[in-house]
């Protein structure tokens, strides 16, 4: 290194100003957006195509043979709510499990972020906001397609992005809880097949939950996914097509799940990265 090259000049700088909370959260969000935008197409395609295949194959394919109405709706319209909920759920759950684990274990992204002014809480709150942004983005795309396909009949569908955002925080938080305990990436398979899949299929995506025998019905009512799907159904078709009379509770349970799982998941991840 030659002498004329100048290193950083400490004396002229003075103590720098600490970045604000908003700056810190935004920087985490931006970091993920930067890394992720390089592979946007590869990442976005399955998240959007999978729910659409389900709509085409089951909603329209099988639905053609179904004369009966579900909650007073044609089958493909009945399914629209579950498809929206499923889109947000899988987007967030995948991001908060596989993607988070890769950052934790393979990219070592958190160790370098922790050396910057970011606190562990900044990192995981920022990451949850990123999860929710992705959930919002994909829910919006799927909502547009569902509307064009004629599976939506309520103007409240305009609120679908908000519901997608909130749902993603709930399932992102749940994903964090799992990520905070796994020791290898294959263990997520159990969470997806034994935890999320039944929750998606038995919470009102394919058939109304009230058809389930007790106590399965009550178990379904107790899952966050039931409340998410009922909320989405209010947005796609209106409250008159709800599965239960107390449907107005559902959006509140959805928000409460987001706050509860979001806060718990962030706390568990904080503990995991701090040695």
């Amino acid at each position: 290194m030659s002498e004329r090259e100048r290193g950083p000049d400490v004396a002229s700088a003075g103590p720098p100003r600490a970045p604000s909370l908003a700056t810190r959260l935004f920087s985490v969000w931006m970091r993920h957006a930067r890394v992720y935008s390089d592979s946007l197409l590869a990442n976005a395609t399955p998240a959007v195509l999978e729910p659409l295949f389900l709509l085409l194959a089951v909603g329209f394919g099988v639905g053609r043979y179904i004369e009966a109405e579900f909650n007073g709706l044609p089958y493909q319209e009945f399914m629209a709510a579950g498809i929206l909920g499923m889109t947000a759920l899988y987007t967030a759950a995948f991001e908060a499990t596989h993607a988070t684990f890769v950052r934790l274990r393979y990219q070592r992204a958190y160790s370098s972020m922790l050396n910057s002014p970011l606190t562990p809480r900044d990192i995981f709150v920022g990451e949850l906001l990123w999860c929710a942004t992705k959930g919002l983005f994909y829910t919006t795309i799927v909502a547009v397609v569902l509307t064009v396909a004629g599976a939506v009949s309520s103007p409240w569908i305009l609120l679908a992005p908000v519901a997608g955002f909130v749902t993603s925080i709930a399932f992102g938080g749940l994903g964090f809880l799992v990520t905070s305990v796994v020791s290898n990436i294959n263990q997520f398979q159990f969470f997806f097949t034994a935890g999320l899949t039944p929750m998606v299929f038995f919470s009102g995506l394919m058939f109304p939950v009230q058809e389930l025998a007790s106590p399965l019905r009550e178990i379904a009512y107790a899952t966050p996914m039931f409340h998410v799907i009922e909320t989405f159904r209010m947005l796609t078709s209106g409250a008159s097509h709800a599965s239960v009379e107390w449907v107005w509770v559902c959006p509140f349970v959805m928000v409460a799940s987001a706050l509860f799982f979001g806060a718990w998941g962030v706390r568990r991840m904080e503990t995991r990265v701090v040695g």
Binding site: M1, G7, P8, V10, F26, M30, G275
Partner: protein
């Protein structure tokens, strides 16, 4: 002179780091067992120790990344765990596992890290350009990190650690696994930074690195500080001035009077202040490959951290 800290800064004369009785446990394992360290402003402190001695744990505690179980820690006069944001804003860290974003190019890696400090726009661009030049990476801005050599990667990691104009730089094994050319480039850069008044904490297990760069060397062993002084003083206080190194199967029974004999692996080390006596002894008793040289920091390290492998 750029190395003089601002006189208006009341903390200018305070030590940058002060540790008292720091203890850190992981379950049943005590990784750090009551350590005191003081690092004065503008000096370079090297933390030496075998793997598992507690070096990285200590540097994480000082860097505000990990809490301690007992003791007091002050960095810039603040508790780094309680004031993470304030302390880490003024701190630069070059970790051993760099956590660079492999799919992003060199400049974007710096950009993303700069955002964590709220750096953007012209301030960021000017600083990034200057640091890439300083670390001899100019022209690599658009190269994806995954394609960089180990040496370039480490230089980028150092540039990243300097992005916030830190007053205090922590480097965890900065030259481990690098070839000698790159190691010397990095040492030159670190000397330059120190000459500009930046305080440096270095963990290493290369004795030469510590001897080249550090004003003070602390030797950690089993979570305890077993010795701390300037490199020269450590050698003087712990060992006679000269040593002859030979095969361990040579008879050590009739070593010269007053000699200190150490055995490490299949090597025998005979220390004595009188070089001529050692040479005479070696000529008579030692055969095969022998080496007579001044005692070094490595000899002190081996003596203090014991013969057995701790890993």
């Amino acid at each position: 002179m750029s190395s003089t800290p601002r006189s208006s800064d009341p903390s200018a004369s305070e030590p940058v780091v002060e540790l008292h009785g720091v203890v850190k446990r992981f379950g049943d394992l005590t990784a750090v067992a009551g350590v005191d360290i003081t690092i004065e402003r503008g000096t370079c402190y090297a933390l030496l120790g075998p793997n598992g001695a507690g070096k990285s744990t200590l540097s994480r505690i000082i860097g505000g990344v990990s809490p301690r179980d007992e003791g007091d820690v002050a960095v810039f006069g603040m508790d780094p765990w309680e004031h993470q944001v304030a302390v880490k804003t003024r701190l630069g860290v070059v970790p051993q596992e760099d956590g660079l974003d492999e799919e992003l190019d060199v400049l974007r890696n710096l950009h993303v890290y700069g955002l964590f400090f709220g750096l953007r726009g012209d301030v960021f661009r000017e600083r990034a350009a200057r640091l890439l030049e300083f670390m001899e990476l100019t022209g690599r801005e658009k190269t994806r990190v995954v394609t960089l050599s180990g040496g370039m990667r480490r230089r980028l990691s150092i540039a990243r650690g300097l992005l916030n104009n830190p007053e205090f730089l922590i480097l965890d094994e900065p030259t481990t696994g690098l070839d000698p050319q790159v190691r010397h480039v990095i040492w030159a850069a670190l000397r330059k930074l120190r000459s500009e008044g930046i305080t440096i904490l270095l963990t290493t297990h290369y004795m030469e690195e510590a001897a080249q760069l550090a004003d003070t060397v602390g030797i950690l062993h089993g979570g305890k500080m077993v010795a701390e002084d300037t490199p020269d003083a450590l050698i003087r206080q712990n060992l006679p001035a000269h040593v002859v190194e030979t095969h361990a199967d040579e008879a050590a029974n009739d070593s010269p009077p007053g000699a200190l004999v150490e055995r490490h692996g299949d090597r025998l080390f005979v220390f004595h202040d009188d070089q001529q006596r050692l040479l005479d002894w070696a000529a008579q008793h030692a055969s095969g490959s022998t080496l007579t040289r001044p005692a070094s920091l490595e000899d002190v390290f081996l003596k203090l951290t014991g013969r057995a492998l701790d890993e």
